[in-house]
Subunit: 417 residues, 2 copies
């Protein structure tokens, strides 16, 4: 994939080195730059130490035509990035009147009195070009030195993002002047692991312009199709998607941003159906996942978190005799929960989950990870048994996703796995 | 804080360079290592390219006594970290029988057929030491070369975290052999932001051996007290904790690992009380959070996810007239939901949440972020109004935490904020 230019990113700040926070500016920049056909080759994160920053700048500038640096432009003592930039470029710091005017105007706009240490933010490497920050006091700047262009931005994410788009991206685009276009498409799968899918896709024929990236986002698997070329890329992505779907089949539940729950919601809406849930071991997680995205009220009616056995009887009429005879984790109880949840809510579809999430509560007959998932429509009630050999959190997540996938397959009138 | 050794971190993966995700393993490792008195000097992120990984390993190993690398240990073609490690160390890859046995055992446990490409995961740099992965198929390994120790771990966060704690941390601690001891204590707060707390703690007097680290873990705030010295550190941590509690007051809900939900559970158990919930805009999230940790069945009875208005009437008897007169997001409905949930479940305490999570559904009188939270005991029913100026996800999370904190304060017989 030929790229016009490659860049490196440097993030600075002790808070990034102490475990307090992760750098998220890097991924944001990589996404924006990718759309321009600019590849990020390396990201480096260092603390606030002057020499650490100078070293990182020196090494990145030696490798890349452009470097985007964030953090350390504030007014306090531990903000040393401008100083590091000057040392890297071999120039002194000089008070920028334009930067000072910007800082004064910002404080006036905010209605906050300006303190002496804020003036320090106007001391920039001599000869640097100002990068406007419309939403904060810190100005950015660009330094050209040692054969590379270095862009310095504040670390505050909303300032960084805006300045990256408005100040850095156009300058990099002008620098690159590439004929190569880039496009990406995401296929979302559930019910298959990364290595199994790669085996199934072995020898697949897709356009040479497209490469496949795997990304496991438990409990799902996402395939990212990256296309690069000088011609029309959508047709190539379509061809690659068709080839993958031919092999991966119905385990591909969608493309783009729609989650599994949103996919189920869309299928319900197409029929004018509504959903009710009855949960035991997942404690409400199925309902929470269903209602994560806005618009769920169009198809999600209600849920019951019948955690105790008494509540299964009290709220969904599960007979105590049934619970005594089969246990709460059983086909009979899963079916009763789904069937009652559907009828009592007056909806077309209901899902139920009852299982042993662990770590305690397992028996030889019903070990931890034993989960029954029920599905009820007006026509039928069916419960299926699963064994999820994971820890508590994952048993619960996998149970919720499996229930949603049962609903999806039911709505698509597909056979189940 | 004198540190015995310094380490560097390297994260690999095209998904980190494309904007798809941010590296969060680095911040986790930095936090864990800090507790050992080990400082992270630099973090580097590179793609899946063999030469990029080799370069990053070479440069980090030249600077640091230990390097922790993550990602690229999977079975697919773009997993090249073992190969890069071998090239860096100048040794061939060799099939490890111990690793192969691990992989086979994992697949057997998962009940999934093993494919040929999984065997590749057993090809490790000759002479490397295996690092056990109890929760995944990929084994980790340690390579000693060019004057540095390199630890290779899978990138999957839950595998990385566990192996970092169990495999890497003890080896680094042994490597350090410092006379300086380190201890850490976590104070968990809810209901105050980082900058406000920092202002409130200004000029606080704590032992010189203790430093305070802030960590915002939305919607909570955690204070980490780091103690370093050659003497007894627990007494110093006790003194620091007392001084902080004197100022932060009841907003400190606990220390250590117990979550807010577990804290509420403990307080309920002390009284022999049980909890029921009624949720609208949070869709089951309160129930899911309550039942996240094992043992919740001792105090969590049941929950109602009355998402539609009809279900509020049908399952919790909220009068249609009440809904029509005041709207679903109102003091009256919040109180009715909590009161009915408590009485129908036959429990001592109930919480209810009804609000506008957004992004749509707001009005001038009830904008997005308007949330009523109800609390009912046998003695009283009280509902409080909140305005959470956040996006949908954060409105829901903040609502759940606020409801739990209301329960905590009620159980402690504290005045509310």
């Amino acid at each position: 994939m030929p790229n016009a230019i490659e860049v490196e990113l440097v993030a600075t700040g002790d808070e990034l080195m102490s475990g307090a926070i992760s750098d998220t500016n890097g991924a944001f920049a990589a996404g924006v730059l990718r759309e321009l056909g600019v590849a990020v080759r390396r990201m480096s994160v260092v603390g606030d130490g002057l020499q650490d920053i100078v070293s990182a700048l020196t090494e990145s500038a030696a490798r890349a035509a452009a470097v985007i640096v964030c953090g350390g432009l504030g007014p306090t003592e531990d903000d040393r990035t401008a100083q590091a930039a000057a040392r890297f470029a071999g120039v002194p710091l000089a008070r920028s009147e334009a930067a000072l005017a910007h800082i004064r105007a910002m404080f006036e706009k905010l209605g906050v009195p300006m303190t002496a240490n804020n003036e320090k933010q106007a001391d920039l490497p001599a000869g640097s070009e100002l990068l406007d920050n419309p939403v904060g006091t810190a100005v950015g700047f660009m330094v050209e030195a040692r054969g590379s262009r270095l862009f310095f931005l504040p670390g505050v994410p909303h300032e960084y993002r805006r300045m990256l788009r408005e100040q850095v991206a156009p300058r990099l685009a002008a620098l690159g002047r590439s004929e190569v276009r880039h496009a990406v498409r995401v296929l979302r799968l559930f019910g298959i692991g990364e290595s199994k899918l790669e085996t199934e896709l072995a020898g697949i024929s897709i356009p040479a312009t497209v490469t496949i990236g795997y990304r496991a986002t438990w409990p799902e698997l996402h395939l990212r199709l990256y296309a690069s070329g000088t011609c029309e890329l959508e047709a190539d992505l379509d061809a690659a998607e068709r080839a993958i779907r031919e092999r991966a089949g119905v385990r591909v539940y969608g493309t783009g941003d729609a989650t599994l729950a949103q996919t189920v919601g869309r299928l319900l809406l197409e029929r004018g159906w509504r959903l009710a849930t009855a949960e035991s071991c997942t404690g409400g997680l199925l309902g929470a996942v269903c209602t994560e995205a806005a618009g769920a009220s169009d198809w999600f009616e209600c849920g019951h978190v019948t955690y105790s056995n008494a509540s299964k009887t009290r709220f969904l009429g599960v007979a105590p005799g049934l619970l005594a005879a089969h246990g709460a984790v059983s086909r009979e109880v899963a079916s009763a929960l789904a069937s009652e949840a559907r009828q009592r809510a007056g909806v077309e579809l209901a899902l139920s989950i009852t299982g042993i999430a662990g770590p305690a509560g397992g028996t030889p007959e019903k070990p931890v990870g034993t989960v029954w998932i029920g599905l009820a429509t007006a026509k039928r009630v069916s419960s299926k048994l699963y064994h999820f050999p994971y820890d508590r959190e994952r048993v619960r997540q996998r149970s919720v996703w499996t229930a949603l996938d049962r609903a999806r397959r039911c709505l698509l009138e597909l056979a189940e796995d």
